[in-house]
């Protein structure tokens, strides 16, 4: 997917003739992948440093340098896994702005852990959106999984509480909570999420195992604001990058990791239940140059 430097070869002749033009175009291509101008500048500064100090004149070497810089930013040192608690139920809270793919991702995650023979329960805590409950119920039926839902407009905190009660009673391994989409700028709705988090922590007596922000890969620079504000309210543990089957490159996750240290943990690449994968920084970076 993220084939951001696919035209590197095309602009290579410029490197020989006019270096400034070469770097400018490289910068443009990175920006075109939605990497922020700051992150782009940072990566290129590092690359340039080597190129000039070591007098590098070989496009393959420049590619390697670029890759190294990008992997450096994306790598997590083992922090890319999902945390499974030793005292079940493990709890994943899925959050994000409207329409990014939260509900679908909840279903995909549930399917993924069901495959691993875990007992999964879905908590339908989006009580706001029209037919949100029916949408997730559809997936729960399809996957033959437990689901807890309340009436429309009821308190999402109560849904979560109820879900955890039932999970504990039924010996569930993993509870995945779907929440309503909300803008990071909406004070009240962010407070509502904080409250949900408190409910969970009180019930399980520890931090929530995973709080994952769902980011749509077609999103531009605003994704950074999303990550920052959701993180301020909730202390995110990671990101699910969705819709990477589109032509957008999701480069903003580089900026998010670089600026805020929040790693991408999963990616989704379609509307089917098995279109979910663990994020692999090396592969991701590798695919840039394929």
């Amino acid at each position: 997917m993220l084939r951001l430097i696919k035209n590197l070869n095309n602009i290579w002749n410029k490197f020989k003739d006019n270096r400034k033009l070469f770097w400018d175009e490289l910068e443009e291509q990175m920006v075109a992948s939605d990497i922020s101008i700051n992150t782009t500048g940072k990566i290129l500064a590092e690359v340039k440093k080597y190129v000039y100090s070591e007098n590098i004149n070989d496009i393959e070497k420049i590619k390697i340098l670029l890759k190294k810089q990008i992997i450096e930013i994306l790598k997590t040192d083992g922090g890319g896994d999902l945390k499974i608690s030793t005292t079940p139920p493990t709890v994943f809270l899925i959050v994000g702005v409207n329409g990014t793919g939260k509900t679908t991702s909840v279903a995909k995650l549930a399917g993924m852990f069901k495959e691993k023979s875990k007992k999964v329960l879905i908590s339908a805590a989006d009580t706001y959106r029209s037919a949100a409950v029916e949408q997730i119920q559809h997936y729960a039926r399809k996957l033959d999984l437990d689901i807890v839902s309340h009436q429309k407009f009821s308190d999402p905190g109560a849904v979560v509480y109820d879900s955890l009660e039932k999970a504990m009673a039924r010996g569930i391994d993993l509870v995945i909570i779907d929440t309503a989409g909300r803008m990071q700028t909406s004070y009240n709705l962010m407070e509502e999420l904080k409250k949900i988090k408190k409910v969970i922590m009180k019930k399980i007596g520890r931090e929530v195992d995973e709080i994952l922000l769902v980011i749509d890969s077609t999103t531009g620079q605003n994704a950074r604001n999303q990550a920052e504000l959701f993180n301020n309210s909730l202390n995110l543990t990671g990101i699910i990058l969705t819709k990477i089957d589109s032509t957008s490159r999701g480069g903003i996750v580089l900026t998010i990791k670089n600026d805020l240290g929040i790693p991408v943990k999963l990616v989704t690449d379609g509307e089917k239940l098995d279109n979910i994968h663990f994020f692999d920084p090396e592969g991701f970076t590798e695919s840039i140059f394929s």
């Binding site: 029916e134 949408q135 004070y187």
Partner: protein
Amino acid sequence: MFDLLTNKFENLFYKIRNKGKLSPDDLDDALREIKLALLEADVNFKVVKEFLENVKTKAIGEKILESLTSYQQVVKIVNEEITRMLGSASSGVVFAPGGPTIIMTVGLQGTGKTSAVIKLASFLKNKYQKKVSIIAADIYRPAAVLQLEDMAKNIAVDVYSESNSNPVSISVKGTELFRKSGSDVIIIDTAGRLHIDEKMMKEIVDIRNRVNPHQIFLVLDAMTGQEAVNIASTFNQRVECDGIILTKLDSDTRGGAALSVYYVVKKPIKFISSGERIEDFDIFYPDRIASRILGMGDILTLVEKAEKVVSEKEAKKIEEKIYKNELNFEDFIGQLKSIKKMGSLDKIFSMLPIPDKNRIFKKINLDDSYLSRIEAIINSMTVEERRKPHIINGNRKKRIAKGSGSSVSEVNKLLVQFSKTKQMMKQFSGKKGKFNFPTGNL
């Protein structure tokens, strides 16, 4: 609070302060800053490049380099250009003469099509007294029909749906039915699809060919990044769109995608959606988006206001004091008054180009009563205390607190903030040489 506010004012006014005549290098600097602003706003990089070339030509043509307020003028030209571009767009819906107007929405997954269909239906129903009906042509997304029906119930609009059918035949049958039943407007809600999904793109082409909608709207998420141009171009190539519905403008996105798409695809933005409620929908106003994209808030208005409020002489005096590190509470209260003259704090604040305003706003509890409290504290100081804040000891603090009806800790907080501000300004004036105090000498 004051810290933050000065900080913002400071950067802002430092940037747009009168630089005197602009050299060609200065013009390039200004354009580079605008380039960054546009890229940060998600304007497509190719569009940015072309656009700035145009602005440059125009700036040179208008001889702004010889003008005294050239920096502002560059910003003004850019602002005008964007507004002009977006504004050449006609707004609203064109109703078909005679029979019902058929409208189809298309777009990527999750952009807000279904919500937009409902909002548009309600808008046309209430504003134009039209009989509106909706066709549910999304057979893929779980509970898509239910979603539509549930929302349509609230606005009392009929929905046509079929199970075990395909979107083309649903659309054909639905339009026939609603034509007969006397609908003025028929809106088709289609499933989300990727522009590169050939099979799905063919589906909307088929619907178009069979139903011949009068208007096809591309629903575009305002937060879309650099790919917006390709997405919009492809949809436009396949089904020829008549306009764009821009959604999720209630986010703090700067919305550069709108500009890019208009620039490349030349299709007007017709409507905007800025929230989840049915009322959060309106006809598009180009000028609002232009300044938002530039991240300028209403800088220009602010500049004018500030110019009126603070006399040049006053500003000079303060500038000198900052330089000598002599700023005291008397000046401070003068500044507070100036700020207040510019309007209510939240109003001023809302004009500033600060991302994420809401959060900051909540955090610092920025309201006018807070300003008044500060004013009350300063008013309870003696003249000597105001001029030499360092003499304020514990006893004096108690007295000031009592006199102003506040607590000692509030007095303390103000003193700390004040000294920080002072330091910061000192640094600033030291580094940048001649420094214009935030509210003066623009």
